[in-house]
Amino acid sequence: MNKFLTHNWLAHEINRKCTLSVLKYVKGDLLDIGCGEKPYFDILTPHINEYVGLDMPDTLHAKDEIDVHGTACNQPFKDSSFNTIVSFQVMEHVNEPNQMVAEIYRVLRKGGYAILTTPFMWGLHEEPRDFYRYTKYGLKYLFEKNGFEIEELKANTGYWIMAGLRFNYYLARFGRGYLKYLLSPIYYLVQVLSLVLDKIDKVETDTASYLLVARKI
């Protein structure tokens, strides 16, 4: 219950739902590019043999969970060594996206799936390592150019959830100390309202993030 007092539970919930919706593609050995603290480890482990987390040694997130040090553009693995590659909200922090996709193609086994989420209408974060935003056309081009077949490409939210979350992030700046508890009903209301409005009319041109599932042919 404590979870619903925060300003961004909806964002976490959407990301978790995304992960749950792609479980049918997950199997065998799994590589998590930019794993951080492996937030979806518990969801993914029942479906796979091995979970390998790759991250940069100088990451801003927790470093305890990292299995292998490396970057997305230069992955220290042999060709065709994984069945599934996941990467959640990482692609915007990669300076050479084309090379990242080419590396994913190299490391993935034939018939394996690459599962990525990446934000679109979202503010700058973790600067200065924040480089690009991709629309669905950009993602489609990048993956098809590198030999993938797109299985699924969908907008996770519409305009209203994006705007509601941005509003909450804005409010959260003032929510320090005991003000946090005063603001939490507003946080909750804004998120529920944006969820309802998004159900009625999903404006996909202003989506907060995309989910992409691509298959190596």
Partner: protein, 202 residues
């Protein structure tokens, strides 16, 4: 009964949404357009622009087409064969244009529509004369828009990666909303192609 109620509430909300949506959903397009015009005027006044100038993807009767006088060597390029542009080409790959042709290139609100901005910038670098200017504008916090597929958004760091080290960034400005510094709306860049000075051994 329950279904009927649900339908009624849904219809009410839909009408409410249609009434209020345009007022709540802020549209930044006019602001972006205004900033592009300001940027072009600013470049024309403050930069020593020389002929010939290439304008990529100008809008019909757009601001940039009226800026230059009639005898100024100003050419336009567009990907759409129906447009009245002087050159019809795709900026990601345009072998029909010779290297080092132009002294300045105006590329406003185009780069986010290219599929591969890296090769587009490389091509623009090729057709620009050494010391020539690239005048670039691109939105950041703007919804997906037409006409051709809208593929990319660039942050400040992304633009630096795209342009450097072949170009020197002279000016990089952004419009930032007063209260939300993390969501810039629009970037304007003046970049200059670096002149390679001849070494002593040459």
């Amino acid at each position: 009964m329950f279904n009927y109620l649900k339908l009624t509430i849904r219809t009410c909300l839909r009408h409410f949404y249609r009434l209020l949506a345009p007022t709540i959903r802020r549209d930044y397009v006019p602001q972006v357009r205004k900033n592009v015009n300001w940027f072009l005027r600013h470049c024309l006044n403050d930069l020593p622009l020389r002929e010939p100038v290439l304008d990529i993807g100008p809008q019909k009767d757009g601001y940039s087409t009226k800026l230059f006088s009639k005898n100024f060597d100003y050419r336009t390029l567009d990907i759409n064969p129906d447009s009245n542009a002087d050159i019809i080409a795709n900026i990601c790959w345009m072998p029909e244009i010779l290297s080092e042709t132009f002294n300045a290139i105006i590329c406003t609100e185009v780069l986010e529509h290219t599929k591969n901005p890296f090769s587009a910038i490389a091509e623009l670098h090729r057709i620009l004369k050494p010391g020539g200017y690239l005048l670039l504008t691109t939105p950041f916090n703007l919804r997906i828009h037409g006409p051709s597929p809208d593929c990319w958004r660039f942050t400040e760091e992304g633009l630096k990666i795209l342009l450097e080290p072949e170009f020197e960034i002279i000016e990089l400005r952004s419009i930032v909303p007063l209260l939300r510094r993390e969501m810039p709306i629009h970037y304007t860049v003046i970049a200059q192609k670096i002149e390679h000075k001849k070494g002593k051994h040459e």
